[in-house]
Each structure stands twice: as C-alpha cells, then as structure tokens.
Symmetry: C2
Subunit: 226 residues, 2 copies
C-alpha cells in the first residue's frame, strides 16, 4: 500500500509540474528537463510514469476525465454533474486547468490528443441511458447534444477565464445548463434537477469524504507508514 501511495504522490507531483511548465512556456517550448526540475523527483521516477513530453501532456489531459462521480437516481443529474464537477475543479486544480487548455490547442492536439473525444463519449453514453429511462425528451440525439454541450462548455469556461480568471465559471456553467436543460429533460424531471452553482463543490466534498473513509478502513502495514 505504502509503495502504491508513494507512486500516486510522485505521479501527481510530476503532473502538477507539467501543468505549471506547460502553462508558463506553452507546450512547444516546454521541455521534460524543465518539468523534472519543477517536480523535484528523480529522472527515473518521472520516466517510470511518463516516457515523453507527449505522454506528460496526455497525463495532464486525462486529469479532466478521471471523475468518479457518485451515482444519482436520475441519469440526467449524473450528466449535469460531469460539467458541474469540472467547473468546480477548473479554477482550483492546476492540472485540470492545464488539461483544458491543452485539449483545445489546435496544433498541440495533433501530437498528444485531447480530452474532448472521451468527454463526448461519456456524455453520449449518459444521455443514452437517460433516454432509455425516459428522463429526457424523445427528440434528443445523444451524440449531437453531447458534442454541443462539450463545445459550449469550452466556450463558457474560456469566456470566464478571460473575464474573471475563472472566478465566475461555476455560475456561468449553471447559466449554460439553465439555458439548455428545458430543451433536454422532461418537465417533471427538470424540477428535480440540481444545477446550483455550488453543486460541484458539494459533489467534490462528498467524493473526498468517501476516499478518506476508504483509506481509514485499511490497516497501515507496520514500518511503512510514510
């Protein structure tokens, strides 16, 4: 366990360093050496997790999609939660923020990819389940709506970045959902959805509490308590 926990911490330190360096120099000008210096880990440790600059960029990008959201009674609430959690993370988690920037870079994407295809696929699947359960209107085409919400979300977060340095991104994402949910969800379902601007914060706190409880249940092996 301790070794695994250390590996998780190292990986996280490397990703935070990569996020910082990519944000400061841009992807093209950044080097693995720069990232190594900022991360404060050994070269071997870095290369164990990421064997190239492209791999580092992919690691940063994937931070946006590593959401383990709590299940909800309504699938369409889970769909909303994907965006609300991301809106909460963007101004607070430099790795998630760097991932969003890298994902929309037209030149960089050719080298390292983008989170968008994964986000769109997840969004499509959640909408398809919501449709099967009769939560959303029959005319909704899951993939079309998923592509639309992913691109509109990107525009909203970019606008918030330029206007307020992301200070108002959660409120703006609420406005986004308020503008589109009535066209997607059944009226009776709509009344039960939570799209409040602090939805992401509450989800995050709930997820943190679960993680802590999980760790607390595991006995720490003797002599490896770092």
């Amino acid at each position: 366990m301790a070794r695994q926990a250390r590996a998780v911490r190292t990986r996280r330190a490397v990703l935070e360093a990569a996020a910082k360096v990519f944000a400061e120099y841009g992807y093209s000008a950044a080097t693995v050496s720069d990232i190594l210096k900022v991360a404060g880990v050994t070269k071997g440790a870095l290369y164990f997790h990421f064997d190239s600059k492209e791999a580092l960029a992919r690691g940063v990008i994937e931070s946006q999609v590593e959401q383990h959201l709590p299940a909800q009674e309504l699938k369409i609430q889970e769909w909303v939660d994907q965006g609300m959690l991301l809106a909460y993370q963007l101004p607070r988690d430099p790795v998630v923020h760097a991932g969003a920037v890298l994902s929309s870079d037209p030149l960089g994407r050719e080298h390292y990819g983008s989170a968008w295809p994964i986000l769109i696929e997840r969004s499509t699947q959640t909408l398809a389940l919501a449709k099967e359960r009769g939560e959303i209107l029959p005319h909704v085409a899951p993939r079309e709506t998923a592509e639309f919400i992913t691109s509109a979300f990107h525009g909203v977060q970019l606008f918030s970045q330029l206007e307020s340095g992301l200070a108002d991104v959660e409120r703006r994402v609420t406005v986004l959902y308020e503008h589109v949910l009535p066209t997607i969800a059944l009226p009776a379902v709509l009344a039960r959805l939570d799209v409040a601007a602090d939805r992401g914060a509450r989800l995050y706190a709930q997820m943190e509490a679960v993680t802590e409880a999980e760790y607390a249940e595991r006995p720490t092996p003797v002599g490896t308590a770092d």
Copy 2:
C-alpha cells in the same frame, strides 16, 4: 465615388493580408512589413488606414461586427441572424475568421481588444427589444443570455474548426440555437423562427443583392470608372 471605392478596396486588401499573416505567424511574430509585402499596396496607403500592428488587429476584429443585417418582423429572429450570418462568414471570409481567432487570444486581447464586448452589447440590445415586444419569456435576462450565447458560439465554432476545419459550423450553430431558443422565445414565436443551417447563406445573398442594387443606382462619373 471612384476614390472612395478605391479606398474601400485598399483597406480590404490590407485587412486580408493582415488576416493571412496573423493566421500564419501568430499576432506576436507578425510584423507590419510582412503584411505590407502580402497586401501589395504602398506603405503610405497602408498607414493611411492603419497606423500600427494593433490598429491592423483591431481592423481585422471589427470585420466580425460590421454586419448590416436586414430588419425582420421579429427582433428575436434578428438576434438569431447575428449568429447565423457569422457562421456563414467564418469558413468563407478569412478576415472574419482571423478576427474570431484574435478575439479569443488571451495574451493578444490585452494589446488590441476583442470583438466580444461589441457582439455581447449588440446581442443584449436586440434581446432587450425582443423582450419589450413580448417575443421572449419574462425570466430572460438579456445580458446574461447574451454573454452565454457569445461564449457558447465561440466554443461551437472552435469545435467545428478542430473537427472539420469549419465545414460543419453552420449545422453546429443551428444545433446551438435549437438547444437554447425554446428556453428564450415564447412558444408561438418559436414556431415562426428560421434557424435552418442555410439561413446565413440566404441572408448574405440578400445583403449582396441590396448592395449591388445601390451601386447600380449611382451613375459612374466619366473617366474615373476604375
């Protein structure tokens, strides 16, 4: 008239050259000399219209907002038309496209500004008029909706740029309006709105026809028919 027509042509040639150079080298690396070479006009002619690189960027940006759209019976149709025309122009007019790119550049905007504040102001005013006339739902807050649609539009066009080089931008903008108009317009008004993907093309053709008719009405002065 001929002198004015020549000035319009020169200004347009300079803006097209600036759009091309900004797209190729990026704003920071581009120089007025590069733009001068591509434009094929005299230095004096260029500086008559634009006295700096910032002024050239502002000129490119303003191309997005120089819309003289035909008046419609419904103000909310005029609101939609602002986006539909822009969607038509983006893949066809390199100056409009360069303006959109410059407007969303976080670093560049500090030097030369952005079209977004102007687009948002226009959008707000049109929504306020639509509200006065009772075309839109009473809960709509014009500025909030204007900021939302401008940022969502940007995300949609960026996604289209990355996915298809803007080949599908008009369809995606239709999808955007289909997702938000039911939350904005009264149901009876909604049924009368035109958000078809070729709306922008039809508006453009109509505007061209008006311009040609205006020119045709003016007699050409003898000996200055260039």
